[in-house]
Structure formats: structure tokens, C-alpha cells
């Protein structure tokens, strides 16, 4: 008895899990609700820009489509990451994960199967969004700039990164409740800190001495520095800014770092699942 083609079996098993999960996700109604909301938000933002152009005769931003597309990406990737968190944690809680591990499923094939299924759905949605934005550009009579295609690349790694975080959180969590709580806290605190820091930076401190606003600004500034290196949203914002500035080396660095983090989280999920085990 020997494992002559371990890698082949891992890939085959991962593909079987991938097919099942892909089917479950695309047949779920929530995905279409999230997609519709995402596109609707994109349309509203573009419509506002067009109104602004109509009133002022100027573009408010160098690229009409990047900002709305950023929101579409954030909503979609957060939803897909959240759904993988729930799916994996629920399988552990219900015992279905253990059932899979009775057969030739190991931590590598399980994590890769789950992760690749969500990533495939995400890529399919990015193509769908691209088609929608093409239609919108035709309706608006505004050509999609070349930088928008660069953003597609950035959106792929950002989504891949966020989904990998979701997989990691769920493989390490005991049950659905704790996995959901940890993931939502992570996302909410990241977005909240970024928004608070942006808001506070607009408030001028009244005194140079002891001042709570100044203290908060400094504290959030430090956290923001850490987040800049860790948060997928920061990478997205930074990548878009650099792309619009035309700083391609910085843009590619962002894409590369997101990719590295993505691989790190997938690898950590594989190791984490091995250590954590399949039982609740």
C-alpha cells in the first residue's frame, strides 16, 4: 500500500469539493441579491458623476469608473469571504467536515477546494461586472480608460486576499458563531478605523498640548500604519491611488504584496486545519 500520486489525489479531491461548493454558491439566492446591490451602488455613483459633469462640465475624478468599481469589489469580496466563513464553520459544527475526512480528503485538498470554489465565483462575478460597466459606459457615452483594466487585476488579488482571510478564520474557529463574530469584527474594525482616521484628520486640534482629538489622531494614525500593511481594503485604496497617479511600480508592488498575503493565509489555513483538527 503506497501513496504513489498524492498530489494528483489531492488535486482531484479538491476539484470535487470545488465543484460542489461552486454549485452551492451560484445556486444560492443571496449571491444575486449582493450582486444586484453592488451593481446598483455602482450605477448610483456613476449617475452622480454624470450629473456633476452635466452641471459643471468637469470630471470630478480622473477615472469615472474606478471609485464605483471599488465599492462593487468590496461588497462582493466581503460577501464571498463571509459565505466561506459560514460554510466551513457550519461543516465543522454539523460534523459534515468529519464525514469528508472519513474519506480521502486531507487538510490541503479541503482548504484548496473551498478556497478555489469561492475564488472561481468571484472571478465569474468580476467578468459579469466588467460586462455591466461596459454597458454603462456605452449608455453614458464615456469610454472606459485603460487604467480600469489594471484595476481588474487589483480587484482579483484583493478579493483573493479577503477570501483567504475568511478561510483562515473559519478553519481556526470552533463554531459558526465564533467564526462569524471574529470575521465581522475584523472587517468592521478595519473599515471603521480607516473611516475614523480619515474623518479625524480633517479636524484641526485646538491646542498643541493635551488634546483628546490629537491623541486619537495619533493613535488611529499608528493603527492605520499597521493596517496599511495588512488590510486588503488598504491595499485596494492604495493600489487605486497609485494606478490613477500612473505609478506602475507602486501599483505592481501592491498587487504582489496582496498576492503574497493571500498565499500566506491559504497556507496558514492548511496548517491551521491540521493543528486545529476537524472536530468541534
Amino acid at each position: 500500500m503506497s501513496d504513489t500520486s498524492k498530489l494528483y489525489k489531492q488535486i482531484q479531491t479538491a476539484l470535487t469539493i470545488h465543484r460542489r461548493d461552486f454549485r452551492i454558491t451560484i445556486f444560492g439566492p443571496v449571491l444575486y441579491i449582493v450582486t444586484t446591490i453592488s451593481i446598483a451602488i455602482g450605477i448610483v455613483i456613476i449617475r452622480n458623476y454624470l450629473n456633476y459633469i452635466e452641471s459643471n462640465g468637469l470630471y470630478p475624478m480622473p477615472d469615472l469608473f474606478s471609485f464605483p468599481f471599488r465599492w462593487v469589489i468590496i461588497l462582493t469580496s466581503v460577501y464571498l469571504a463571509f459565505s466561506v466563513v459560514v460554510a466551513i464553520a457550519r461543516e465543522r459544527e454539523s460534523g459534515a467536515m468529519e464525514l469528508l475526512f472519513y474519506g480521502p480528503v486531507d487538510n490541503v485538498s479541503y482548504v484548496l477546494g473551498k478556497y478555489s470554489a469561492q475564488l472561481t465565483v468571484y472571478c465569474s462575478l468580476i467578468i459579469l461586472y466588467l460586462i455591466c460597466f461596459f454597458i454603462l459606459s456605452n449608455i453614458a457615452g464615456v469610454q472606459i480608460p485603460g487604467s480600469f483594466y489594471m484595476m481588474m487585476l487589483l480587484s482579483l488579488v484583493t478579493g483573493a486576499y479577503l477570501i483567504s482571510v475568511g478561510v483562515f478564520v473559519s478553519t481556526m474557529s470552533r463554531n459558526v458563531r465564533s467564526a462569524t463574530l471574529v470575521f465581522l469584527t475584523l472587517i468592521a474594525s478595519t473599515l471603521l478605523i480607516q473611516a475614523s482616521q480619515a474623518w479625524l484628520s480633517n479636524i484641526a486640534p485646538e491646542s498643541d498640548y493635551y488634546n483628546p482629538v490629537l491623541l486619537l489622531q495619533q493613535l488611529l494614525g499608528w493603527i492605520q500604519v499597521v493596517l496599511t500593511w495588512l488590510s486588503p481594503f488598504s491595499y485596494l485604496n492604495y493600489g487605486v491611488s497609485e494606478m490613477l497617479r500612473g505609478n506602475m511600480s507602486a501599483f505592481l508592488r501592491v498587487v504582489g504584496l496582496s498576492f503574497v498575503f493571500c498565499i500566506t493565509f491559504v497556507f496558514s489555513s492548511i496548517i491551521g486545519l491540521k493543528i486545529r483538527g476537524v472536530r468541534q
Binding site: 500500500m1 503506497s2 501513496d3 470535487t16 460534523g95 464525514l99 472519513y102 474519506g103 480521502p104 472536530r279
Partner: protein, 314 residues
């Protein structure tokens, strides 16, 4: 087929499995018994690679899970205590998914054949959540047998089933036994183990107390033969007569019924019969009774049997 040496699992609060050494031979049905919390499930989880042992060695098919994970998993079928399914799948889709996991060729034929065997063919397109407990357990068996495993590991396979369901599952186990599959059954239902197992292991408080065939187990707890005698015209002197027979270990007269424990070194029933008749009593019936697995199990797992619980039997 399965072999462990000093297998131990320690959790922060408790030592769940203490240095268990067991051997399951190829083609046998191995009954794995123990009261709740004895460490059976943890041992089984370690054998399946679901829980990592703290120390000790284990091998399946003569090799380790670390070295031959996929080969071992492809040759092992498992029926867990709780039959798990995927909510979104019908029974057929569920089996088809597992057939894909095991990379089974011509899966349709195999699924239909097994579903037909257990009488679930007409319910193939129904979700398992709508099945009865017995049907779900049978479906779990079908899933475990899809890839024609050489080793079948069953955790409480008849737990919660009605007599009809138990009979069907027993039939499946016997069928697999005939085909040469090695079967490892962990169960609380002693009568089922007594019927099907070739050898039995008893666990208690994380320790493997004993591993033997049923006769060996009986002998290790009781070296006497039990004889029940039904008599008429019982004289008052009968008790004294029985006490004088040297091969009688113990006796108890209850009306017309006498329960006697005889020395198992030889067959002393003729001598016993003569002595009872000579006392003036009339023998109506006599039967030799072996200790049931339940009695043997209770003796082994009784905390008062200090020597046994310290593992001296092993």
C-alpha cells in the same frame, strides 16, 4: 490490519486514552466495547486520523496514516455514530459526490446496486433529512461501502434503530464479513457484538482491559460452569448434599430451581445428577449456561474489580 502500541491521548483536563495496545486481524469482526467515557470514540478518532495521538504508535494495513494517507483512506469505509449529510443534496447526489471523492468508475451502477440492496432505490431522489433514522443509517452504510473497502469501521452502527433496522444492519455486517472485509465495531449494544464479533476488546477509563474471543473473556472472569437445575420433591437435606460435592463451587436453591456453579476443569454433570437423584429429588430439567457478554462486560467494567481496572488482566 489495525495495530496500536501504547496509544495515548491526553487533553488538558483528562487522559482520555491510556497506553492502548490492540491488534485487529485481517478478515475478523472486532468488537470494541466500553461504557460511556471509556475512550472508545477517541481511540477510533485516532485510528481514523481525526485526532492526533499524544504518544504511541498506530498502523493500518501495516503502514502509517502519515505515510500512506490516501491509500489507507481509499481502503477504509467508515460509519460514524451520527449519520451526517449535506442538506442541499438528495441521497443520490450525496452518494454521487462521495463516489467522486473516491474516484469510483461507473459510479451510477455501484450506487444503484447498493441502494437496491438496502431497499433505498425508490427513495434515491429524496433528501436524507426526510429519511427515518434507520434509512439514514442504511444510507451511511451505502456511502461507506461505495468504494468496496477492505476495512469497515463502525461506530455505534445500530444505536437508535428499531429491531427491524437492527436486523437489516446486522445483515449488512454479516454480508461484509462473508466477503472477507475486516470489521471494527464500537458499540454499546452488547447483544449485537456477541452475535457478530470474532474477538472483543473492552475499554474502561481510557485503558484497554482485555482483548480476546468471547470464550476467552468469559474464562478470564469466571472459571466455573453454571448449571441450572429444575427439580421436584426437594428434600431439606439437598443443600447439604450439594455442599458435600467437591466440584461444586457455589449453589443457590430457590424453590424448585437450583443454580449451581461447577468447577470447569471437567464435565461433572453426571455426578451432579446422581447426587441430586440420590437425595430423593426428581430432576425435571438441567441446562448449562455460559455467562453472557453483558455479565462478562459488567464484571470487567465494575469498579470493584480493582485488579481488572488496573489492567492486570491484559
Amino acid at each position: 490490519m489495525i495495530s496500536t502500541r501504547n496509544l495515548t491521548k491526553t487533553y488538558p483536563e483528562v487522559e482520555a486514552v491510556k497506553s492502548v495496545t490492540l491488534n485487529v486481524r485481517e478478515g475478523e469482526v472486532y468488537g470494541f466495547l466500553g461504557p460511556n467515557g471509556a475512550g472508545k470514540s477517541t481511540t477510533m478518532a485516532m485510528l481514523l486520523g481525526l485526532v492526533k495521538p499524544t504518544s504511541g504508535e498506530l498502523s493500518l494495513f501495516g503502514t502509517s496514516l502519515e505515510n500512506n494517507y490516501f491509500a489507507i483512506k481509499n481502503a477504509t469505509g467508515v460509519v460514524g455514530e451520527n449519520p451526517y449529510f449535506f442538506d442541499e443534496m438528495t441521497a443520490w447526489e450525496f452518494l454521487s459526490f462521495h463516489a467522486d471523492i473516491f474516484m469510483i468508475e461507473s459510479k451510477e451502477n455501484r450506487i444503484n446496486e447498493l441502494m437496491e440492496n438496502v431497499g433505498l432505490r425508490q427513495y434515491a431522489n429524496i433528501r436524507p433529512s426526510e429519511y427515518s433514522r434507520g434509512m439514514r443509517q442504511k444510507l451511511s452504510f451505502v456511502r461507506a461501502l461505495l468504494h468496496k473497502p477492505d476495512l469497515l469501521m463502525l461506530d455505534e452502527p445500530v444505536s437508535g434503530l428499531d429491531p427491524h433496522g437492527i436486523r437489516q444492519i446486522r445483515g449488512l455486517i454479516e454480508e461484509q464479513k462473508k466477503s472477507g472485509t475486516t470489521i471494527f465495531i464500537s458499540s454499546h449494544i452488547l447483544s449485537e457484538i456477541e452475535r457478530t464479533a470474532d474477538r472483543i476488546a473492552i475499554m474502561h477509563k481510557g485503558k484497554l482491559l482485555v482483548e480476546d474471543n468471547l470464550d476467552g473473556l468469559r474464562y478470564s472472569v469466571d472459571q466455573s460452569v453454571r448449571v441450572n437445575v429444575e427439580v421436584a420433591n426437594v428434600p431439606e437435606t439437598l443443600s447439604g448434599v450439594l455442599s458435600d460435592i467437591p466440584h461444586i463451587v457455589d449453589h443457590n436453591i430457590d424453590g424448585q430451581h437450583i443454580e449451581i456453579r461447577l468447577d470447569a476443569t471437567s464435565d461433572y454433570r453426571a455426578e451432579l445428577s446422581s447426587a441430586i437423584t440420590a437425595s430423593g429429588a426428581t430432576i425435571i430439567g438441567m441446562e448449562t449456561r455460559k455467562a453472557s457478554l453483558e455479565e462478562t462486560f459488567m464484571t470487567f467494567t465494575d469498579d470493584n474489580v480493582i485488579g481488572l481496572s488496573k489492567g492486570e488482566v491484559q
